[in-house]
Structure formats: structure tokens, C-alpha cells
Amino acid sequence: MKKDGKLATFVNPLIRENAILVNLLGLCPVLGITTSLNNALGMGVAVILVLFFTNTFISLIRKWVPSEVRIPVFIVIIACFVTMVEYLMKAFTPDLASSLGLFIPMITVNCIILGRAEAFASKNGVVDSMLDGLGTGVGFLISCLILAFFRELLGTGGFTINNPFNNELLFSFLPFEAIKMPIFVQSSGGFMMFGLILGVFYCIRIMMEESKKEKEKKAKEAENKKIAAEGKEIK
């Protein structure tokens, strides 16, 4: 990969190749934990840590891993880092860990992690793999936060943010509590909200692509006119 492509390695997975909104990977924890901003932030940080370290280690040992056992090796590495993150969360953010529950160990089978290990880290250098892991993780966090923002706002009527280390209330803003729609903090509401966000995201993407095409078309037409005018002048 070219050196000038390093920034692209980090930036592309944020929005353009976002694992959740574009590739629709790893949706199970996303729908399960995005009931509040606190949970989304916790899960996002856990996924960033796991992606960063697994990508780094897999990239480091990629030349020595026999292709026949590469998937079991990747799974061992992923499971190890997920368990480490789980221990650390249970020790330092116990309430967040109990709130995320089974979704933390389930990061092991999240297809984003194994997908990036197999598709990127096992074929690229350490720095690129680190950047890809960070970018994909931050992209996951952004998607989770967007979904959690709307689900918490509509489902509880506002936002409640707790300190993950001691569970103290940091911020509570519930202006629409009287008209809250609890369905949005349930699984069915999660699907609905995800569908709506996906629809809006694709509309924006299509509009941007159309406007890009329009600009290219106009630039081409202007160039053709310029060439035609130059031709006339020569004649």
C-alpha cells in the first residue's frame, strides 16, 4: 500500500466503508446494546480495543501462520483479547459490564473482527492493520452512537449519562419524558430505528453520488465545449 494511502486506510472505514451502515456486519450487538448512549459508548470502546490489538497481532505473525490453521489462530487471538477486555471492564467498569452482559463475550464471534483479520490484517503491514482496526472500530462506535442517540431520545424522552467507572449520574436531560415511546428501547424498536437510519444514510449517499456524477458530467461538457471552441479557432 502507498504511503499516501495511510490516511485513507483510517478514514475509509469511518463512513464510506462503515462496517454497520454500509457492509451491514455485526448487527446483533448493535441492535442489542444501543438502548442508551452509555452502553453504545462502552461497546464501541470495547470493539475498538479488540479490533486494534487483534489486527496488530495478526499482522505481526501473518508470515508465520500456516494457511491451514489461520482461522483457528485468529479465533484464539480474538477470544483472548475479548476475554481480557471483559476482565478489565468487570474490574474497572462493573456496572457497564453487567449492563452489556453477554454482548461482551459475543464480540468474539462478531464478523467485523474476524472479517478484518482475514481480509486485511493477514495481508497487510502492522501500521496499516493498526489504522484499519482503529478506523473500523471508530466507524462501529459512530454507528452505535447514532442509533443509540435516537433510540434513547425517543424511548426514554431524553438522555441519561452515567460515569462508567462509578455509575454516578453525570448528566440527565429528559425534556420529552411525558411523550416517550418505550418501544424504541426494545428489540422491535431497534430494528425500526436501524431501518430508518439506514434509509436516511442511503438517501444521503445516493444524493452525494448523483451530485458528484452531475459535477463530473458538467466538467466533461465544459471540457468538450472548450475543445470544440479550440478546434474552431484552429480551422
Binding site: 505473525i61 508465520w64 501462520v65 500456516p66 491451514e68 490453521v69 483457528p72 489462530v73 484464539v76 487471538i77 483472548c80 476475554t83 481480557m84 476482565y87 478489565l88 468487570k90 474490574a91 474497572f92 462493573p94 418505550p182
Partner: protein
């Protein structure tokens, strides 16, 4: 080297390396996790009894493997306010209304329910109706003599599941009072 030796050796080496790293992290985190759990437990007992002496809480080892006590997760003797109560940790087993974990204290001398607190519930829609300690406890206190379990509209399944667990705790306590000690 033969593939059948090389591959398992490589996989074994990877497992050994990452297993060691995991053990190191576990050794660092485990004491903190245990301390957190102890603090959580103590906070739960303080929620049940304001003047509890957490240092003298006694774990009681009874066998709850029988189907008659399948919702009982454990029991401890809690000294408080110059009295002593048996606090049962109970968990409902009704997946339709979500599992509810709660604690209930039975006063050792009188055999009456004297405390109650929800620890966690997976179904806020139904179980949250049983979260108001004072209201539920007020009705539970007379449950043993009147047989009327607290009823909240829309929470029938939760009520039945919790009633079953409370009955098991009361039956177990009665069996102890009658000399059926299986300690």
C-alpha cells in the same frame, strides 16, 4: 517437518502464549472483580436493612438442588437492629415475563417477611411493578398469614413466578423451624 506435527504445534504455541497473557490479566483483575462483587452484595444487604453489620453476615450452606427449592439461589443469616434474619436470594424461572432476581428476608424469631428488594430484572415492563420496595414489602409482610400475594395489573406472569419463589423460601424456612435442617 510433517504437517500433522507442525500445525498442532503451532496452534499449541499460540494457545500457550495467549493463555499466559490472559492469565496475567486475570491475576490483575480478579481481586478487583471480587472486591466489586463483595461491595455490591454488601450494598444489597444495606438496601434490605439500614443497620446491618456486614462483617457478621453468615453464609448458610443448605442443599437447594431439590425441585422444591429450584428458585432459591442461596441463603445468608443477616444480623441487624439486635435481630437476625434469613435472607434468601431468589430468581424466577419464567422466561415469558423475564427472569427477576430478588432478595427477601425472613425474621428468624417470628418467621415473618421483613425485607424485600429487587436485584435485577430482564423484563422492565412487568417486573418493574414489583420494584417499589415499600409498597410491595407492605403487602408481602401479611402474605404468609393472609395468603394474598401483591397483585399489579398487567403483571400476572411475573406475580405467579415471584409467588412461586417466595413460597419456596417460606417453605424452606418452615422446614428449618420444624427441624428439617439439611445443613
Amino acid at each position: 517437518m510433517n504437517k500433522f506435527i507442525k500445525l498442532p504445534l503451532f496452534l499449541g504455541g499460540v494457545c500457550l502464549f495467549f493463555g499466559t497473557a490472559l492469565a496475567a490479566v486475570y491475576n490483575v483483575c480478579n481481586p478487583i472483580i471480587q472486591q466489586n462483587e463483595l461491595e455490591k452484595k454488601n450494598a444489597a444487604y444495606k438496601n434490605l436493612y439500614a443497620n446491618v453489620d456486614v462483617s457478621s453476615i453468615k453464609e448458610l450452606e443448605y442443599d437447594f438442588s431439590s425441585a422444591d427449592y429450584k428458585n432459591i439461589r442461596g441463603v445468608v443469616e443477616v444480623p441487624h437492629d439486635n435481630l437476625s434474619s434469613y435472607v434468601y436470594s431468589l430468581e424466577t424461572d419464567n422466561p415469558q415475563s423475564g427472569n427477576v432476581s430478588f432478595m427477601m428476608g425472613i425474621q428468624k424469631d417470628t418467621g415473618k417477611i421483613d425485607s424485600y428488594a429487587i436485584i435485577s430484572n430482564n423484563n422492565s415492563g412487568y417486573a418493574s411493578k414489583y420494584e417499589n420496595n415499600e409498597t410491595v414489602l407492605g403487602e408481602l409482610k401479611s402474605y404468609d398469614s393472609t395468603g394474598t400475594f401483591p397483585v399489579y395489573s398487567g403483571a400476572t406472569k411475573t406475580k405467579n413466578a415471584m409467588k412461586k419463589a417466595v413460597d419456596q423460601a417460606l417453605n424452606h424456612f418452615k422446614s428449618l423451624s420444624l427441624g428439617g435442617n439439611n445443613e
